[in-house]
């Protein structure tokens, strides 16, 4: 029996450690640990509520725009203006989220995940005239291969020809994701960490020149996703088809839905959204979303407390480094008392279960290609495929949304901030369900809680001893070569973990920590 500890897991955002116990070539036990902790909610307490959106987006440099949007929605609802945002504001929020999310999915597949499947060093054998590939060949011939080595060795399956093509797509994807950010910035000011999304709408006003350039940019991204990204994911799936059987996980899925197609209902759980709200399981029966069913456990997290679970509005988070039984800075949120996976697979599964036509058509066409039934979705490759289909679904809608903008018309509604109030903002970040809960007290932030996608996926065990989704996906996995545990990193990366997001809670209990000196 051996232990495989992988720390750090790279090509994700943030500090993640994965510890597995392997016996007879099979993972018997798995622990996922978040290794960073910054204290965002504590920093927010006592501040002007309007500042929350500019501060919380800085929780994460990768999914910043999802935080901006969730926070703005939460503040809108706390200020009582959730149903008063001008259509321009609602649509511009959708567009900035949409462009941002497409680039995020591209970034994840090509730049974070692909190096587990694609062997850059094979470009050494390239004999053609492509300048990009020849420059990479020259780079390899110089012999300094960082950051592409060191790496795990022994399971890169593509022929040189396909490999060369995927490497050139890796480079092209760098440019496409940059362009996705540029399109976001046209309406949001700058990215990462946009500034034009604000409670009440957007500070930008759409103009015809912006509409024209956005249309062209939306088309370019749509073509890349349809012609390059989706086919490349299918190529990986064909070559590594055993990964349709690996990394199944907890089998329960939760989605908050995202992209409001109508802004009239103040209750976000009831709105018509491009991606539908709700939960489902591998049986693909749809259940409506109920935010009261969300509770967080801290039994195995480094916080004071016992086995009881608390709703985000009631959460306590006093850090207790070295707590017995604790092994992570991440809490363990559960829905209906059960472990739920969030992310693109959950979005697609919930949409499919709810009978959303576009989702069904996309999923069925991929399943038909592989002559497979829906259960193959619940796997490493299913997650990558679902992510690509999410990107395609957004890309197919961007141009229509752009044409709905009213040039020169306001995107912002004035409001009076109330002395007291509560609000919740929910969206689907690229990585899954993201909720911001805010309590306003005397025109200041009384309490602010974020429950983010990776808190769900990379959570430790809960108070009932149930493992988190990534842990469940790892347990039972066969590891062929313990020195090169490809299976483990491929499973973990299929969730696209984002640890900067997951770990950000702290209550310092009045202790003056700034003067703390290391002995």
């Amino acid at each position: 029996m051996g232990k495989i500890i992988i720390d750090p897991i790279t090509r994700i955002e943030g500090h993640l450690k994965v510890e597995t116990v392997v016996d007879g070539g099979e993972v018997k036990e798995a622990k996922c640990s978040g290794m960073l902790f910054r204290g965002f909610e504590k920093i927010l307490e006592g501040r002007d509520p309007r500042d929350a959106q500019l501060i919380t987006e800085r929780i994460c440099g990768v999914c910043n725009h999802c935080h901006t949007t969730a926070s703005a929605l939460g503040l809108d609802s706390a200020f009582g203006i959730a149903d008063k945002i001008p259509d321009n504001g609602r649509i511009m929020r959708n567009l900035t989220m949409g462009f941002h999310q497409i680039q995020d999915h591209i970034l994840h597949f090509y730049h974070l995940a692909a190096l587990d499947y694609v062997d850059v060093t094979k470009v050494a054998s390239y004999e053609g005239t492509d300048r990009t590939l020849n420059s990479i060949k020259a780079f390899i011939s110089r012999g300094e291969l960082a950051p592409f080595v060191p790496r795990y060795e022994g399971d890169y399956r593509f022929s040189s020809e396909v490999d060369h093509m995927l490497v050139s797509h890796y480079v092209q994807a760098l440019e496409m994701r940059r362009k996705g950010h540029e399109a976001t910035a046209i309406l949001a000011g700058k990215v990462p960490h946009a500034c034009a999304v604000t409670p009440g709408g957007m500070t930008e006003i759409p103009t015809v020149d912006k509409i024209a350039t956005l249309l062209a940019r939306a088309k370019e991204l749509q073509e890349f996703v349809e012609d390059i990204y989706v086919p490349d994911v299918i190529k990986v799936a064909e070559k590594y088809s055993d990964y349709f059987e690996i990394g199944k996980g907890c089998g329960k899925y939760l989605s908050y839905g995202v992209y409001d197609l109508d802004g009239k209902d103040p209750d976000y759980t009831k709105r018509v959204r491009l991606f539908t709200q709700g939960s489902t399981s591998t049986d693909l029966q749809h259940q409506p979303l109920d935010l009261d069913q969300i509770n967080e456990y801290i039994k195995h997290s480094w916080y004071e407390g016992d086995g009881t679970a608390r709703h985000p509005f009631d959460g306590e988070t006093n850090p207790m480094p070295g707590k017995e039984g604790g092994y992570s800075w991440i809490k363990a949120p559960r829905y209906n008392e059960e472990t739920h996976e969030v992310g693109p697979l959950a979005r697609v599964a919930v949409g499919y279960a709810a009978g959303d036509r576009a989702t069904k058509e996309m999923v069925d066409s991929v399943l038909a290609h592989f002559k497979a039934s829906p259960e193959v979705l619940f796997s490493v490759l299913g997650r990558h495929a679902a992510r690509a289909l999410c990107a395609l679904h957004i890309a197919n809608n961007l141009q229509g949304w752009i044409l709905e903008l009213n040039p020169g018309e306001p995107a912002y509604v004035e409001y009076t901030m109330p002395d007291q109030g509560t609000g919740v903002g929910i969206v689907e970040a690229a990585r899954g369900a993201l909720g911001h809960w805010v309590v306003i007290k005397d025109r200041k932030i009384g309490k602010y809680q974020c429950v983010v996608p990776t808190t769900w996926n990379a959570s430790p065990m809960d108070g009932n001893g149930n493992h988190g989704p990534i842990e469940q996906s790892l347990i039972g996995t066969k590891v062929r070569d313990e020195q090169n545990p490809f299976e483990i990193v491929r499973i973990v990366r299929s969730f696209d973990p984002c640890i900067a997001c997951a770990v950000h809670l702290l209550n310092h209990k009045g202790r003056e920590m700034k003067r703390y000196i290391i002995s």
Partner: protein, 297 residues
């Protein structure tokens, strides 16, 4: 054989959101592919031995790669630090990698590698000044690289490239200057160790809405034309060249999008004197032109 000189570099992230890395990916010319694969300037290639987000490997092999760089290239490698350095409770709030099954606190990496590096770039407001994790009440006891170096008596040349996130040109430009002209000379950096090329002037001095300020035309609500001073803009007290450079390949920047400057290149960020949405006090405004006055003296 090639005549390209390899400059080893290690990019370590502590209490970070990763936004500085993502912003760097947005560099247009040179592109990120040029920076990583080709030559940043002719004859010089940055060999990035470790980066959390892009390194192919995971776990022990990459930790060894970092240690090897420190040992084999002492005094010759470049260290890039992204994110704050949490020091409270023995640094437990941020750990990278393990030795003998014990997590290695991030501050240890900063001290170990900082001592051995040829030069250090503190990338972003977090590593330069403490940034948002260091905001009131600074729950994890974060320090900037500058503070850690001072406490530990580390004298390795340090350049702060703040911004939340920094503009990719600020980082790539600083890198290119290091490769072309060597370590910073007297007068290259301001008193906060920021390169004057990028941080020499106030936002306010080049702002496209400056004429509105001078004429007293102030926006009363978002979406109005006019100066954003009364809506909380920190441009009059923030040093950076955003108005000229603009962001994301020049498509926009904060004030052009109708939102005030948030002052993200300043050590006071984000606490300042109040909310991002509150007007700064008029007594701060006379600081305009300070840099030029100093230069003429």
């Amino acid at each position: 054989m090639s005549d390209i000189k390899e400059i080893p570099a290690v990019w370590i992230g502590g209490g970070t959101c990763g936004g500085c890395s993502v912003s760097t990916l947005n560099t247009v010319a040179p592109s990120i592919k040029h920076v990583l694969i080709d030559e940043v300037v002719p004859g010089r290639h940055i060999s990035l031995r470790f980066h959390t987000n892009i390194s192919a490997g995971s776990g022990d092999p990459v930790i060894r790669a970092i240690e090897d760089t420190g040992q084999k290239h002492e005094g010759q490698f470049l260290l890039i630090v992204e994110g704050v350095v949490p020091t409270a409770d023995g640094g437990v709030y941020c750990a990278v990698g393990e030795r003998n099954e014990e997590p290695i606190p991030f501050y240890q990496w900063v001290i170990e590698l900082g001592r051995k590096a040829m030069a250090v770039i503190a990338l972003g407001t977090c590593s330069s000044f403490g940034g948002i994790p260091g905001a009131r009440p600074n729950p994890t006891g974060v320090k900037s690289v500058m503070e850690i170096f001072k406490e530990e008596g580390i004298t390795t040349p340090l350049i702060n490239v703040p911004g939340c996130p920094p503009h990719p040109n600020w980082f790539v430009g600083t890198l290119a200057k290091l490769l072309l002209a060597g370590l910073p000379k007297d007068g290259d950096l301001d008193d906060l160790l920021r390169p004057k090329e990028f941080y020499g002037l106030l936002i306010h001095e080049n702002c496209q809405r400056r004429a509105h300020f001078d004429e007293g035309k102030f926006a009363k609500k978002f979406g109005d034309p006019g100066c954003l001073y009364e809506l909380g803009c920190k441009g009059p007290i923030t040093y950076a060249d955003c108005p000229i450079r603009q962001w994301n390949n020049g498509v926009n920047w904060c004030i052009r999008s109708g939102m005030g400057c948030q002052g993200c290149t300043q050590p006071e960020f984000p606490d300042f004197l109040g909310s991002f949405y509150e007007k700064i006090t008029d007594v701060d405004v006379p600081k305009i032109g300070e840099y030029w006055k100093k230069r003429e003296d």
